[in-house]
Subunit: 237 residues, 2 copies
């Protein structure tokens, strides 16, 4: 089996790699016509194929064969976070959450937000790289920064969902592991340094979101995201 | 209570901050004589004190008062890792593990190691910064890089200890959460990309180390360290 893994959405209908993947295949890995590659579609499929033509801008492939297909997992993790001032911290967060496996990473602006705009392009590349590295088959949807209320309004909470938010209080709320029901779609909100404002907290309570504690230590925002994602996976082990 | 937290080992016998902390206090925070500060001793103590004299090289303090004292925790995490090529990844690992709380971070050279030497100075600074940020009271011991066998020989496994190593196998070994006994001193080994060699694996089995799986996804070395540390804490929640 080829050790060269690429990402291509809808490989069954679009028989080529995009410019970035082509550049990597041609210039970095020096692949040529006839070389075998593997392709991730980001929605549970892993394929093998053979390069038919290649240059640094476009690579077409043939003989596409599905070699692994994962069903949608029994539980899904949708994480929403108030981005940190340093984008590097969000980049690490995306990489680590993708390694553990995650389905949505969204960003919101909150009262205490340190960052009110951001570009997703680099985060999407990091997510794809982490997918290839981790052998996970689902690429998360990375959602653009929007006001907290707008993000909350876009989420429908049904019987298969659980909506929670990290919140500091004294005495602390129970931790995530003590509150989640298994095999749900989890919608998890992580606030900025300085936590959610009183008004925001009331908005969560008003929509029956469950508050959870991140434990005794004060975690940085990106660490809280990683811990939350990891805790959901551990609970399902 | 002062919001300015500094690190000073043995503050009861040494009444001053070191050069680095003094520079930060004087130049960055612009603290002056008479200002109140908090001091972490890294072994469970949090103090308040008042600056008596300050410049960018040395700060002396008086009126030292213990305001919090944590006992040695019921469980301890000693993590040993084959360092990655990129030091940045080890720096993030140290920061995140210190946020969660950890007692030793050691480094070893293994057959598939990507890095055979490293400097600890910067890692120690990161650990101190993470301690201040997280409000944890124990500073981990950061141990210099040494051959795997030497590191293993330095560890005494008694009735209060559990020694484990991350190992990939097919079928996979049980995960950490399924194998640890609570309230022990855990000695945990995380191998390099490419895992431990056959000879190294035999060395672990020969000393009755317990192999554990990190789950389905292939985690990067630093992610494996973060996940392992976090999993131990979650098991004790």
């Amino acid at each position: 089996m080829s050790k060269y893994v690429f990402f291509a959405p809808n490989p069954t209908s679009i028989g080529f790699l995009n410019e970035e993947e082509s550049f990597h295949a041609f210039r970095v890995l020096r692949l040529r016509n006839g070389d075998a590659i593997r392709i991730l579609d980001g929605v549970g499929g892993l394929y093998e194929a053979v390069i038919d033509s290649i240059d640094s801008k476009k690579t077409s492939f043939v003989k596409l064969q599905l070699i692994e297909k994962q069903d949608k997992p029994a539980y899904q993790i949708h994480l929403y976070v108030a981005p940190t001032k340093q984008m590097e911290r969000m980049e690490w967060m995306v990489e680590k959450c993708c390694e553990f496996g995650i389905h949505t990473i969204g960003f919101f602006v909150s009262k205490n937000s340190e960052r009110k705009e951001m570009k997703l392009n680099r985060l999407e590349k990091i997510a794809i790289a982490a997918l290839k590295q981790s052998k996970n088959l689902f690429l998360p949807k990375i959602q653009t920064l929007a006001p907290l209320k707008q993000v909350m309004d876009s989420i429908q909470i049904g019987s298969k969902d659980q909506a929670l938010f990290a919140h500091i209080s004294d005495p602390p709320f129970p931790t995530l592991g003590k509150q989640i029901e298994l095999n749900k779609s989890y919608h998890l909100f992580i606030g900025p340094e300085g936590d959610f404002s009183g008004e925001e907290t009331n908005m969560f309570f008003g929509k029956n979101y469950i508050p959870f504690s991140l434990g005794k230590a004060i975690l940085r925002t990106e660490t809280a995201c990683i811990a939350t994602t990891h805790a959901i996976h551990l609970a399902h082990e």
